[in-house]
Amino acid sequence: MPPVILRVKEAPTGVPLEAESISPDLFADRSREEIEALPVALGNESHRLGDFFQVEGERSDQIEVDGSIPRVKWVGSGMTRGRVVIHGDVGMHAGSYMRGGEILIEGNAADFLGVEMEAGLIRVRGNAGHRAGAAYRGSKFGMRGGIILIEGDVGHEVGAYMRRGLVVIKGNAEDFLGARMAAGTICLFGRAGLRTGGGMQKGMIVCMHPVELLPTFAYDCIYAPIFLRILFKGLKRLGVQPTPQQANGLYRRYHGDLAEIGKGEILIPA
């Protein structure tokens, strides 16, 4: 099935464009004209998708956005199938509430990437902003499943309130990585900011560099977790290649946050 290609006619520069209609679920059964007529919101005004994008192709759950759209929000939000490729940057809320399919962002992603996603795969070649894979304000849980793979750096509170799923960050993270997480796995290859795992209940954060831990994390032991070998085997399929030292080496295990129930784990290479 050839993909639907969206060529950026006029990228919004100031007022953000909210385009949750850029979703494989909506493109799959629509003709080119129908895709062009899908609604988008420029601030408080309603427009057609065709006002901002030149649409090529139709009836496909494969979407390619040819160009950078850092001011376009909610791309692929709630999608359940297909694939969205963005050849450039994307705005806030990309892949939030996602339930299946794949999003590939070749540039940078803004804040709230994959927030509260339930399944599917999001890959970012560049950096991602704050609260990727986390929860919206007021929600009890963040990401409930699926995989987010970020090759660059990320902002604050990534993976906060996570309930299940996997976040892999090849670059560095800022403060409160995995804050208040309830379960799930975060794998950080770069360096972490402060207060990693603050308020975490369960779940696991693997940090490949030494981390300044909160006083409420307690050291347990040095061991070679079998789980990590299985995880890294899976990551290889996604193109993430840990060093042999990382894949087979020993890890120091800390548990916390003792201010909460203290069943979370932080692993740091020994």
């Binding site: 005004e45 806030m92 304000r137 603050g198 409420t216």
Partner: protein, 448 residues
């Protein structure tokens, strides 16, 4: 006919509510002579100055820097707002309840983002309360019951001068008949402040270590022993002593300030604080409360929550309220350069925001509604002077503990109130939208 010169018209108004800080003292006595405030009794130096100097530095109505009438200014403001695709309404904390209510109506009408000055002070406290809840009480309960008062990252001696004497330190109450002698006051901050002088103990902590300290206190409270000898630059034993004091108090209260909300960690600092005070309730009665800044700062969050369900950072651009700090909060809207017009009411945004954000505000059409000249009115496209709420305009205000109080009008002003200005802008916008293409006005603006 006798000249009125020499005939004094003297009025003494009692029970006046002060609009300056969040304590909103409601026992002021104001003497007015010939329409001018001559004396203010019972107020602190901050409150007294607010009344005594209210005639100074008045703003004047103008458009693009040129003098105009109020009517022309309102027309110009309505035109800017009706055309805007992604406007911002900001400020609002130093006005009264009905004006705040009207600002939300306007935001709904034009599909705007609405945020208030809490967004850059105690918004993290609101987020934390939303996340974990709060065990709190009124200042009256503190006055009558509290035998342990902790001021953490706040400085009431300078910022809320009458809070200690009316409620929290020297105040005598039902179960605290000896006032200060019946209370232990502890001050925790990164440096000694004048509040330390009235406290029984001062604990100096390292900057940006509050989250670690609250987490450690919570773990100690659960009976865990920690590996570290010190947290936040203070020995663990000292924290254990503090915890014992908290547990053995009959009624404890922890007041926090912007030392916690606007430092690294933000709302998660408050989440840790609130959970600690909640967990202390297994041992005794323990509360927490924020020390709020502006007079009616709590009111805006109250009204916004009652009208939209959310306390700040609300967006109406899609015709229904959405809440997302980090996206619809004023700092982010301006830093990302998203908004295309702004209405700043009773706040000095240009004077208080970082250069980059102020720069964006300067680059868009901006309406300043304010009794006084400020950095914002200097560069605003349209300036609409108003009667100062709490002095020249009456209304309601919420005290920092969510108690509504009546603000009295003590003098007249040649200018309309904030509420009236907003009502007239709303009427004008409605007329423009109806008159333009005949389409009915819909909530969320004129969307096709």
């Amino acid at each position: 006919m006798a000249e009125s010169v020499g005939v004094k018209e003297v009025k003494v108004i009692e029970g006046v509510t002060c609009p300056f800080c969040g304590v909103t003292c409601d026992d002021l006595v104001v003497h007015v002579e010939n329409g001018k405030i001559k004396e203010v009794k019972n107020a602190c130096v901050l409150g007294k100055d607010t009344f005594m100097h209210h005639l100074e530095g008045w703003a004047t109505p103008r458009i693009q820097g040129k003098p105009a009438t109020i009517d022309q200014c309102i027309d110009a403001a309505a035109e800017i707002l009706a055309k805007a695709k992604y406007p911002l309404i900001y400020g609002l904390d130093s006005t009264e309840l009905q004006a705040q209510r009207k600002s939300i109506e306007l935001a709904d009408l034009i599909g705007a983002n609405i945020d208030h000055t809490s967004s850059v002070c105690h918004a993290p406290s609101l987020q934390a309360v939303q996340t974990v809840g709060i065990s709190s009480c009124t200042v009256g309960e503190v006055k009558n019951r509290a035998d342990l008062v902790i001021f953490w990252g706040c400085n009431p001696a300078e910022a809320h001068p009458r809070h200690p004497s009316r409620y929290s330190v020297t105040a005598k109450g039902l179960f605290t008949p000896k006032g200060k002698k019946d209370r232990m006051v502890i001050h925790v901050d990164v440096r000694p402040t004048p509040t330390a002088r009235m406290a029984d103990a001062f604990i100096q902590i390292k900057p940006n270590s509050d989250y670690e300290i609250f987490s450690a206190l919570r773990a100690l409270l659960k009976g865990h022993e920690l590996d570290q000898a010190e947290v936040g630059g203070v020995a663990i034993d000292e924290w254990k002593t503090l915890l014992e004091k908290m547990k053995s108090s009959k009624f404890g209260i922890l007041y926090w300030g912007m030392g916690l909300t606007m430092t690294r960690g933000k709302y998660l600092n408050i989440v840790a604080l609130l959970t600690l005070t909640q967990e202390l309730n297994r041992f005794t009665k323990f509360q927490a409360a924020p020390m709020r800044g502006h007079g009616n700062v709590v009111g805006m969050a109250q009204v916004l929550t009652w009208q939209t369900g959310f306390p700040f950072a609300v967006n109406m651009s899609r015709g229904y309220p959405r809440f997302n700090p980090g996206e619809y909060s004023v700092a982010d809207l301006l830093a990302h350069g998203e908004v295309d017009a702004a209405l700043i009411l009773a706040a000095d945004a240009i004077g208080n925001f970082p250069a980059k954000m102020a720069e964006h505000l300067r680059s868009i059409p901006m309406i300043a509604v304010d009794p006084k000249e400020s950095e914002t009115t200097k560069v605003a496209t349209v300036v609409i002077p108003t009667a100062q709420a709490g002095i020249a305009a009456g209304g309601m205000a919420y005290r920092m503990d969510h108690i509504p109080l009546v603000m009295k009008k003590v003098v007249d002003s040649p200018y309309p109130s904030d509420r009236e200005v907003l009502e007239r802008i709303i009427a004008k916008v409605v007329a423009m939208k109806n008159g333009g293409n005949g389409a009915p006005v819909r909530a969320g603006g004129a969307r096709g």
